[in-house]
Symmetry: C2
Subunit: 318 residues, 2 copies
């Protein structure tokens, strides 16, 4: 199958061709990767016209139900919605985050939606690379809302923030005064925060938590113009999801998306190049052989960190 | 002057020898750097027994007055206090942050205190390296509280967080509901936050801002055990500074300092090594010649980022 054939299939908006294209860009085989890059170069002129939305939250926060509800509302309003997953922890959590499409039953059966399970495990860098490329594929296939789902584990949020226009975090308010699922570091990345499962006996605490966090965030405004709103919703009862969408749309309208994407592309190119250069260094046999020894000598004080660096670099250059 | 002579002078706690030792570790001359590393290896066994405290805040937040008040209280209580500065922006702000010792008039005249101006400009990495090494010098000279002052600019807070036991951020509460001097990203680094200049007409808004931020931080507890307290104080009126010190001391008592420092040493060694490897790559003439061109082709869509990386690496390897 030539890249030209696959590109034509993707542009004709046939899901089976979209799936085939994403499978190609996810492949780690060298010959596949060359064809994948040719395919992406063909599709790129047709890509870029979606609202790219990252959605994150810890397991149990209700991401699937939320995406199912939001996505169905959007297709009902005439949008075409693609859902992709970045799952750096599929090994740890024992399976693909979206492996079971029944998690998004309505959306999976919706002809205007495309849900892509991501069974890929392994390095986050690899997952992120193919997710970025999958975005290009689904955009070329005419999906105008692309949702990238990730679990709140390790670096995955930072990685996803680097590839979307708007980042939504879902949290939970439960007994006590803890907001589950929002770590301090996330406040910098979040464009919109929604306290989900604000239903039944939890409505009051969810609203109070949202109000308190909202106040603190207003106080901490970094002067960027956009103040992260904190809302409540219940994806299950389908309340408040439309207000969350309104804020996602407002964020995009008030942001210089073209500028943000240019910066993301350049950052990504350099991040991949730096990672490649560092991997060479860190996996170099002589560096690895030296590292444990100099680290120990730094810890016991017989070597300063600066001297240790000289030894590591010398072993790399030998 | 041999490193042994300088080391003996530092251990004898004579400020002039401390100053001479720091000047040596700050020197960029190659022969000085070799002697500096010998000196540090000699001093390291006597170092490590201080409480290392980072203090940051935007210009105007009252850092100097705060450090002057806190430091004087501490020497009155029998401590020996050293103050060092990390100033990545001395060029931009038009002078050394501590160049004028009169900014800390009481402490500068206090025989139990040592205030070190840091006129060094240039790369933050360079400043951070010599600040880490200056900490070793003042610890070997018997200062048991070491304050590292930095301005809230760019990466300086992250860098300083990597070299101290406890990080204090100073903020201001003023008209409106803005808390000046605390960005979202800082919440992850701060062990203690103090709203300074809580005096005169500002007491009420300072206390309200502290209470609101404190509530939000309690809500966002990352499960690490320590919940960042938010206090109010007035360094000028000398109110609340003792409570801030109590929280700094409580943080140190509840933290595995030895473990934190071991992790910092290893992080620092690798950070310096990685920086050296990346600098070679990024300053390589062929890489620089290629970079602008491939970036443009990525932006106009004729090259995918992955292909761009291959071109950059190929130019490096040629």
């Amino acid at each position: 199958m030539t890249p030209e054939t696959i590109a034509a299939g993707v542009r004709s908006r046939i899901p089976a061709w979209v799936a085939r294209a994403i499978t190609l860009v996810e492949s780690t085989r060298a010959d596949h990767q060359i064809r994948a890059q040719e395919l992406l170069a063909l599709l790129t002129p047709d890509a870029g016209r979606s609202h790219r939305i990252g959605i994150s939250g810890v397991p149990g926060v209700g991401k699937s139900t939320f995406i199912d509800t939001l996505g169905s509302d959007l297709t009902a309003a005439g949008h075409r919605v693609a859902v992709l997953a970045v799952d750096p922890s599929s090994v740890r959590t024992g399976g693909s985050i979206l492996g079971d499409k029944t998690r998004m039953a309505r959306l999976a059966a919706d002809p205007a939606a495309y849900v892509r399970p991501s069974p890929t495990s392994g390095t986050l860098g690899g997952v992120a690379k193919t997710t970025r490329e999958a975005i290009v594929v689904v955009e070329a296939a005419g999906y105008d809302v692309v949702i990238v789902e990730t679990v709140g584990v390790g670096q995955s949020e930072t990685t996803v923030a680097g590839m979307v226009d708007t980042f939504l975090f879902l949290a939970l308010a439960r007994a006590g005064d803890q907001l589950q699922g929002i770590k301090k570091g996330i406040l910098e990345l979040a464009d919109v925060i929604a306290v989900n499962k604000a239903d039944g006996p939890h409505v009051v605490e969810a609203k109070r938590a949202a109000r308190d966090l909202s106040g603190a965030l207003r106080m901490l405004d970094d002067g960027g113009g956009w103040v992260t709103p904190v809302l409540t919703c219940s994806a299950l009862e389908e309340t408040g999801v439309d207000e969350v969408w309104a804020q996602l749309a407002a964020h995009r309208a008030q942001t210089d998306i073209a500028g943000r994407r240019r910066a993301q592309q350049a950052d990504w190119m350099w991040a991949m190049a730096r990672q490649a250069v560092l991997t060479r260094f860190e996996t170099h046999p002589a560096v690895r052989a030296t590292a444990g020894d100099v680290r120990q000598r730094v810890l016991d004080g017989s070597l300063t960190p600066a001297q240790a660096v000289q030894e590591l670099l010398a072993s790399y250059d030998r």
